[in-house]
Symmetry: C2
Subunit: 359 residues, 2 copies
């Protein structure tokens, strides 16, 4: 397969919703500027309030032939409910940016706005991939071994059936392949490992289905919370409730440890001296711990590429999300997901019929 690092042959086109980020339009445009300095080559259409966009563009050097602006007046606020966004949001930058993907004018959309609204609007305009019930949000984690793990769902749905967990596994596998070029990503199902607990019934059913109906998948079976960062699996599958809590637990733990390190390094004069000596190593450490570097999470399962950038992301985070969008847009994997889901459904159905016939 093609490595995601090769340049695409046709120029890619991205739709960027510039409204809705905590840092405002200026942070998003600064992120775009950094993205272009960092290897992004796509044509980007900016959806949002033209006046604010022009002001932000004026103070920066940008490849103007790569940029166009689509003016929209409305903005989806962070506290707007998905149903309200669908009713009132047709004139918004978010809706407009998604429409660009629907109409084939863009290969992907990036938004820092309200996640629930983004999901609802994307489902309505782009529709789900055949065979996929619900979208899932992914998060990319760093690992001990210097690699990455993709986890899904981290918050699109609070619950998931066994069938939906199987769909998440298939989507996660295709996504990780497109993201990294790894031919056979290793997939694990998040569970508890204690001897006395076998986990939820539905997780066991999902595991059995994957083993039986998708033998081509490098399926590692059950993994536990500490396996997410261990580097042995590439894709960790769970429901959005558990995934969201696990992700936030890791963020909280990392913040606490970063605070402790800071304290350890500034406690005494001796520590301060040592800290100044090791500044280069500490900067690298800080870089590895920086969440901006893993910003940009696709909503998987849609007929089209939709990338959620964290609302609180800084300009580097926005740049990272644009880079993820370009990489994924160059290697569309929606068809692959549809094919694998259809295959798994057919095999599951025939094995059920076989079992019924044998009775």
């Amino acid at each position: 397969m093609t490595s995601p690092l090769t340049s695409p042959t046709k120029p890619l086109r991205l739709a960027l919703d510039v409204m809705g980020a905590d840092g405002g339009v200026d942070t998003v445009i600064e992120g775009l500027s950094r993205a272009y300095k960092n290897g992004v080559t796509a044509h980007v259409t900016l959806h949002g309030r033209e006046g604010e966009i022009k002001t932000a563009l004026a103070s920066r050097e940008l490849p103007n032939d790569h940029i166009s602006v689509r003016h929209t007046e409305d903005v989806i606020t962070m506290d707007e409910k998905p149903t309200g966004a669908l009713r009132r949001g047709r004139g918004s930058s978010m809706w407009s940016a998604i429409t660009a993907v629907k109409e084939g004018e863009a290969d992907g959309v990036i938004s820092s706005g309200n996640t629930g609204a983004l999901m609802a609007m994307s489902k309505l305009q782009l529709r789900m991939i055949p065979g996929i019930d619900r979208p899932a949000i992914t998060a990319v984690w760093p690992t001990k071994t210097g690699g990455r793990t993709a986890m899904l769902d981290v918050g699109a749905n609070v619950e998931a059936t066994a069938t939906q967990l199987v769909q998440f596994a298939i989507m996660g596998e295709a996504y990780f392949r497109a993201l990294t070029g790894k031919d056979k990503p290793v997939v694990g199902l998040l569970n508890v490992g204690a001897e006395e607990l076998k986990g939820h019934e539905l997780i066991r059913t999902a595991a059995d289905t994957l083993r039986a109906a998708d033998p081509e998948m490098a399926f590692a079976g059950f993994v536990e919370g500490d396996d997410i960062t261990a580097g042995e699996v590439d894709v960790v599958v769970t429901d959005g409730f558990t995934g969201n809590i696990s992700l936030k637990t890791a963020e909280g733990t990392a913040h606490m440890l970063a605070d402790w390190i800071k304290e350890a390094l500034t406690g005494s004069l001796r520590s301060k001296l040592a800290a100044s000596l090791m500044m280069p190593a500490l900067r690298e450490l800080k870089d590895r711990m920086n969440p901006s570097n893993s910003n940009g999470a696709p909503l998987l399962g849609l007929n089209g590429l939709v990338i959620k950038s964290h609302g609180g992301a800084d300009a580097d985070g926005v740049a990272a999300a644009l880079k993820v969008a370009q990489n994924l847009a160059a290697h569309p994997f929606g068809d692959e997901i549809a094919r694998t889901v259809a295959k798994v459904e057919a095999r599951t159905a025939s094995s059920t019929e076989g079992a019924a016939a044998a009775e």
Copy 2:
């Protein structure tokens, strides 16, 4: 209320199951020795194979007038299922140590053995506190602000009903009060916070019940994964599936960051020099990250104190578990749990009747 740091007026008696730890009897006895050096004053009865115990005792200085031995031949293995342990385990060290609590010969039991077996045997011999459906396992986390947070359940049950979450909250509150002396521990219910997700129905029911039926509790409502280490709440309530995954996620994240710090400190000669300069600060950091310091988790909800020590704990971990056991044994909180649960049940029932009468 009495601070848990005051010395108990009557000598406490603990039952220590010395079998089943990964490090063997010797690690457990070394832990006992360190516990006595670290302020433990209880009389401890050692349950297990007398020969191995005597060998381990012989090479150490211990307050022999505080120690007695109860010989048992059988050992519950780590892969024994709870049902098997109940059928075949009556001659085991674990059973014998729990019996000591049941018979009033000990104020608490500490075991490093198989958690499922410990739970099943404790339920059978000690029975549940009236009004509590199921035991819960707790874990104590460090926080950013230098304090501690207790989380439950972290693995005794894969699922929990709204009523059981309410019971966990009541147990966690009483436990934290006994552990730290804090009069009004702040209790939070673990949930996802994203705008579009309101979390599981049963978590919302549990929150409503706590607000209405236990207004004396300092109930903070919903908290998220990153609040566990933030230091704003003292007790975090969740089901055993989510709790176990959250706990292991934090462990994995901490290991990964510790590895990164180690790499950063040994990369260049310059870093190595810096690391040697800041050794004292690093030792303190290592100490804060050491899981041994928070070893010793009670199984809450039983008529009697049962402390689970991690199977892989080192001698310092065993010593920490003994200290926790002594602190908690000095401040029994089972009656308090029973009273609070009864009060909440009565109020919930009367408000339901009131609502029915109003219709």
